[in-house]
Amino acid sequence: MAIYKRGYQRYDGPLAPHAARLGVLVRDAWRRATAPRLVTALLAASCLWPLLCAFFIYIANHAELWSGLDRNFASILSIDHQFMLTFMKVQAVFSVILAALAGPGLVSPDLANQALPLYFSRPISRLDYVLARLAALAGLLSLVTWAPGLLLFIMQASMAPPGWLAANWRLGAGLVAGFWLWILLVALAAVASSAWVRWRLIAGALVLGYFFVLSGIGAVVNGIFRVEWGDLINPIRAAYGVWCALLGAPMPQGLTLPMSLGALAMMGALLALIVERRLRPVEVVS
């Protein structure tokens, strides 16, 4: 009998669909992202500002609590686009720090362990691998961005006088859309940094550098050359421009919506290109 006729019986039953396998990757990425204790601590710390904002909304909707105070106080307690933009700016900073802490653990260890061939010798693609990591990061960043933001909006809508929601629905929609755009950029930056360097600490520093150092450089360019195109390399300013447009706030000086969107699209494409170039199943040493 030919040797291959003495076959063994392998499992030939049904297998989970592709989406379920992707779920395995996402759960694994989530475990890794939330493993550092600092991530838990930062998640807790990032609740402080939303709680303060919730308190602010409560006060703003209970006039009897500040009836004896200065009349100007009423204008300060307005829940409008400025309030939402301030909330978004603070939470955006938390989200970047969170991504810098959680993101590097998602890809760097696989590169350091040369484990990518093990992933890609399973029926999953590079796109699956990246999507799973982006999804895990998006889930994590949602906890400090649009989720508390939406809760605040709902809280305000439920406490405000009738008609407020109809007049200000754009605040809620803009907040969610703006934060999702931000999450995509931050998660992409974290995955790209993690794919770029094998050392987690440096990858984390790269994430922070991408947002804060580039912002500084953009501002310096604008200041020194008396130009406005420095904003094109400033991810925070570009995102802020889009947020303003989404929330119906006046655009910052020197920024237009197409300019902001174009800058963000360019940055996203560049980060995606880094991920594409770095995450290969086989590393070639020439």
Partner: protein, 310 residues
């Protein structure tokens, strides 16, 4: 193309300017096949091509009739273990094997059963709940092997799986390879430890500079290069006299009396004539204690083929 073979047809793969493999024609049948070659010969490239991790620039590959571009089907029939210590140190051995199975789409219950079965096969059940970071090098090799065989693949591709194994575990691992091959699977492995692979392999593929320079059973490979002289190590009472007689009667290219007592190394271009003369000499009263082919191992063949040891 046969659905029972791994077939490479004129396959070339380059990494930019770097040569991976070039014009490779190869048919790998069920059993244990060893891919042997020096560093940079193209062993890993060949294996990565087989596993669908990379694709050829030219030529065609079929793994049991499946194109490597059909990754969904290919990866269900292939198991792969890299040469790197790729198991995540923060996971336990069991978690490592289990997560691989879940990525294949097995249900949790079935994946757990298969994971334990694989761990048992490689003798890692007792250490399965320990973190990979606490494993010895040999244990890490075995856990990599477990994740490669856990989904019961028909084709098992193992990149240097014997590295770092102590002699006992190495012998056990080789026995496991033989067992897997005897079940009708394709076991394709690469190794730097040449004397091990030639003794266990059904077929040896010799690579150099990205090209297959010989393929087949070690003895067959040796036969293929008959124009090269064969080496025999003879043990006898009087090597200088035997050497003189052989030069007189047989087609001997070279005879060298070795330092060790009674050893004579002979090179001949005609094995049959040489054997006949040896028989005649023995029948005529010359004491010849043993005749051993000295070049039927991979190292010797390699020396012949590329002019240097692998």
């Amino acid at each position: 193309m046969s659905s029972q073979e791994i077939v490479f047809e004129n396959v070339s793969r380059f990494y930019g300017d770097v040569l991976g493999v070039n014009h490779v024609d190869l048919r790998i049948r069920p059993g244990l096949t060893s891919i042997v070659g020096p560093n940079g010969a193209g062993k890993s490239t060949l294996m990565n091509l087989m596993c669908g991790l990379i694709f050829p620039d030219r030529g065609e590959i079929r793994v049991l009739g499946v194109s490597p571009r059909d990754t969904e089907r290919l990866m269900r029939i292939t198991g792969y273990a890299t040469q790197f210590d790729a198991a995540p140190p923060w996971a336990t051995g069991f978690e490592f094997v289990l997560s691989g199975l879940l990525l294949f789409g097995y249900s949790s219950a079935l994946a757990e059963r298969l994971a334990w079965a694989a761990l048992e096969r490689v003798g890692m059940t007792e250490a399965a709940r320990r973190k990979v970071s606490s494993y010895s090098k040999g244990m890490r090799q075995r856990i990599r092997l477990a994740q490669a065989i856990a989904h019961e693949p028909q084709v098992l591709v193992l990149d240097e799986p014997l590295n770092g194994l102590d002699p006992v575990v190495r012998a056990e691992t080789l026995a496991l390879f033989r067992q897997l091959a005897a079940e009708g699977r394709h076991i394709v492995l690469s190794s730097h430890v040449l004397h091990e692979v030639d003794s266990i392999s059904d077929c040896v593929v010799l690579l150099a500079n990205g090209s297959v320079i010989a393929e087949g059973n070690i003895r067959d490979v040796r036969e293929e290069i008959r124009e090269r002289p064969s080496q025999f190590l003879l043990r006898c009472a009087d090597p200088p006299r035997l050497a003189a007689l052989l030069f007189e009667r047989a087609p001997v290219a070279e005879a060298r009396v070795l330092h060790e007592d009674g050893a004579l190394l002979v090179l001949t271009r005609d094995r049959r004539a040489f054997s006949r003369v040896l028989t005649e000499l023995a029948a005529g009263g010359i004491t010849i204690e043993s005749v051993v082919p000295a070049d039927e191992n991979v190292n010797a063949v390699y020396e012949y083929l590329i002019g240097g040891s692998a």
